[in-house]
Subunit: 289 residues, 2 copies
C-alpha cells in the first residue's frame, strides 16, 4: 500500500500553506479537500490584511493559492475524511472508502459552523459576513446587524459600531452584555435571513423583522477533533502548543480549528509551522530507527 | 504629549502585518523601523513558500509589503528605539531623543545577528552604548569606537565624528564604506570588549587592541532583554503564549524574535495575532475604566 509522509486535511490557507512548505521540504504529501479550496474564501469579500496582497478579492486570493499549488505540482485529492486513527508509529486515515497510511497528519479543517440560520448560506458574500475585521470597511456609515453567539463577539460589535452608522446586536447566549448604549440589543433568536430589494432582513423567532445593509454572523460552534479519537480539545478548538503539535504524537493542527483569531494570514503562518514540525517529527523518527 | 494606541517596533513581515491589522482595526499606531523594511528581505533569495505569492524575489516581496502599507497610509517612523519601559498602565518608549507613550507595544525586531561580543552585555551603560543619537553628547571632545554591523551605521559614525574628538570604525560587513577621512576604518572583527582603568578597549580577532572613551555597538536589533527591562526571554528569544503575549502586561511580540521557524509567512501570521491581541487588551482596559 502506498504510504505518505504527511496527510494534510483541509484546503483553506492553513492546509495550502502546510502543503507548500512540506513539498518544498521534499516530503510526499496527500492534500485532501475541495479543489475550490475553501467556500469561505471564494465567497468572501475583499481581504485587506494579508500582507503583500493589498485589497485582494476573495476569489482572486483563492486563485493565487491555486496557482501556487499548481506551480509546485501539488494536486488536491477531493474526498471525505471520516476518521483519523493513531496507530502508535503511524496514522491510518479513512479517505472515502479507502484507508490511507501516513507517518504524520496535519489537521487544517477549519471551523465547522454549526447549523446555519435559514437563508444564511445562500447570502454569504451577498450581505452575510463572518468577519468583522475583514468586512467592516464595506459598511462605513451604513446599518449592520450582528448575530453574536458568544460574549466575545461583543468586541467585534463594538468595533463595528465605530465604523458603521448603527449596529443591532442579536445576543444568542445567556448573561449580561457589555456594549455601548448606541448598540441596540435584541434578545430573541434569529430564525431566518433574507434579501428584499437592496436590504437584508433578519426575522426572529417571534416573526419580528430587522433590516440592515449587512449582517454579521459571528459564531464559534464546531465539533473539533470528532475526526480523531483521543484528541485533546478545548471547546470548539484543538489544543496545540506553539509548534502546532496536538496531544497525539505526530499529529499537528493549524488554522481556525486551533483557535482565534480567524484570519487568513494567521492560518497560513500556522500551516507553515505545522509543516516544519511534521518534517522535524518524521526526520527524527527515521533517524532513531 | 501625543499618545499612541500601539507602538510597533520592527518593519519585517511581522511588524508590517501587525501594523496593517491594527490600522484596519482603527488603532492609532506608530510603526518604527527602516523605510527599506528589512535588509534581509531586500537581499534575500526567491521566496517559495509565502502562500499566494509563488516564487517571489525578495525585493519584489519587499515592494509588495511597502505598497500594502502605502495603500493604508501607514508611514514608517525611521529612528532607533533604545528602551521600552512598562509604566504599569502604559508604556514609555525611547525613540531617538524622544520619549513616546503608548497603551501597548508590539516587539517585532527580528533576531539579533549573532551573539553579543564578549563583555558587551556587562558594559552596557558603562562605556558601551547602542544609540549614537542618545549618547553622543556624553563623548563630546572624546575618543569613541563604533562597531557597525551594516552600511547604514556609517551615518551614525559620521554624526559622531562631528561631535567627538576621534572615531574608529569597525566595519563588520562587506562592501565599500563612505566615511570621512577623519574616521579610521578597521576591517577585522571585534572579539572582546573590556574595561581597563578609565578606558574601554576593543580586542579584535587578531588580538590587536583599540582604546577609547566610549564604544558604540550599532546593529539592527538589540537583544530583547536589553530593550525591555524585565522581559522574560529564553536564549535569544522572547517567551510568548499562543496569543503572542509576553511576560509584561500589554506587551506583545511576534516574528523571528519569538522563536523558530524563521519564515516570512510564520512571522506575518504572528503579526496579525499580536495586533488583534493588542486591540483586545486596549479595548478591555478602556472598558474597565
Amino acid at each position: 500500500m502506498e504510504r505518505y509522509d504527511i496527510i494534510i486535511i483541509g484546503t483553506g490557507p492553513a492546509g495550502v500553506s502546510a502543503a507548500i512548505t512540506a513539498t518544498i521540504r521534499n516530503k510526499k504529501i496527500m492534500l485532501i479537500g475541495s479543489k475550490d479550496l475553501s467556500s469561505k474564501i471564494a465567497q468572501g469579500h475583499t481581504i485587506e490584511n494579508y500582507p503583500g496582497l493589498p485589497s485582494i478579492a476573495g476569489a482572486d486570493f483563492g486563485n493565487a493559492l491555486k496557482k501556487h499549488l499548481e506551480n509546485l505540482n501539488i494536486s488536491i485529492h477531493e474526498d471525505r475524511v471520516s476518521a483519523v486513527y493513531s496507530m502508535g508509529d503511524y496514522f491510518s486515515v479513512q479517505v472515502g472508502q479507502d484507508m490511507i497510511e501516513a507517518d504524520s497528519v496535519i489537521l487544517a479543517t477549519g471551523v465547522v459552523a454549526g447549523k446555519p440560520i435559514n437563508g444564511e448560506s445562500e447570502l454569504v458574500g451577498r450581505g452575510v459576513s463572518y468577519c468583522a475585521t475583514c468586512d467592516a470597511p464595506l459598511y462605513r456609515g451604513k446599518d449592520v446587524i450582528v448575530i453574536g453567539y458568544s460574549q466575545k463577539e461583543e468586541e467585534e460589535a463594538r468595533f463595528l459600531s465605530e465604523v458603521t452608522n448603527s449596529v443591532t446586536y442579536f445576543q444568542v447566549y445567556k448573561g449580561e452584555t457589555h456594549l455601548p448604549e448606541s448598540i441596540k440589543i435584541v434578545q430573541s433568536r434569529p430564525s431566518e435571513i433574507k434579501h428584499v430589494g437592496d436590504k437584508n432582513i433578519v426575522v426572529d423567532a417571534e416573526g419580528n423583522t430587522y433590516e440592515a445593509d449587512g449582517i454579521f454572523v459571528l459564531r464559534d460552534a464546531i465539533s473539533p477533533g470528532q475526526l480523531v479519537p483521543g484528541l485533546k480539545t478545548e471547546g470548539a478548538h484543538i489544543v496545540v502548543d506553539r509548534n502546532m503539535a496536538t496531544s497525539i504524537n505526530g499529529c499537528f493542527a493549524c488554522g481556525d480549528i486551533v483557535g482565534l483569531p480567524y484570519q487568513y494570514i494567521k492560518s497560513a503562518g500556522e500551516g507553515n509551522i505545522a509543516a516544519l514540525s511534521a518534517v522535524g517529527y518524521i526526520d527524527k523518527k527515521r533517524l532513531a530507527k
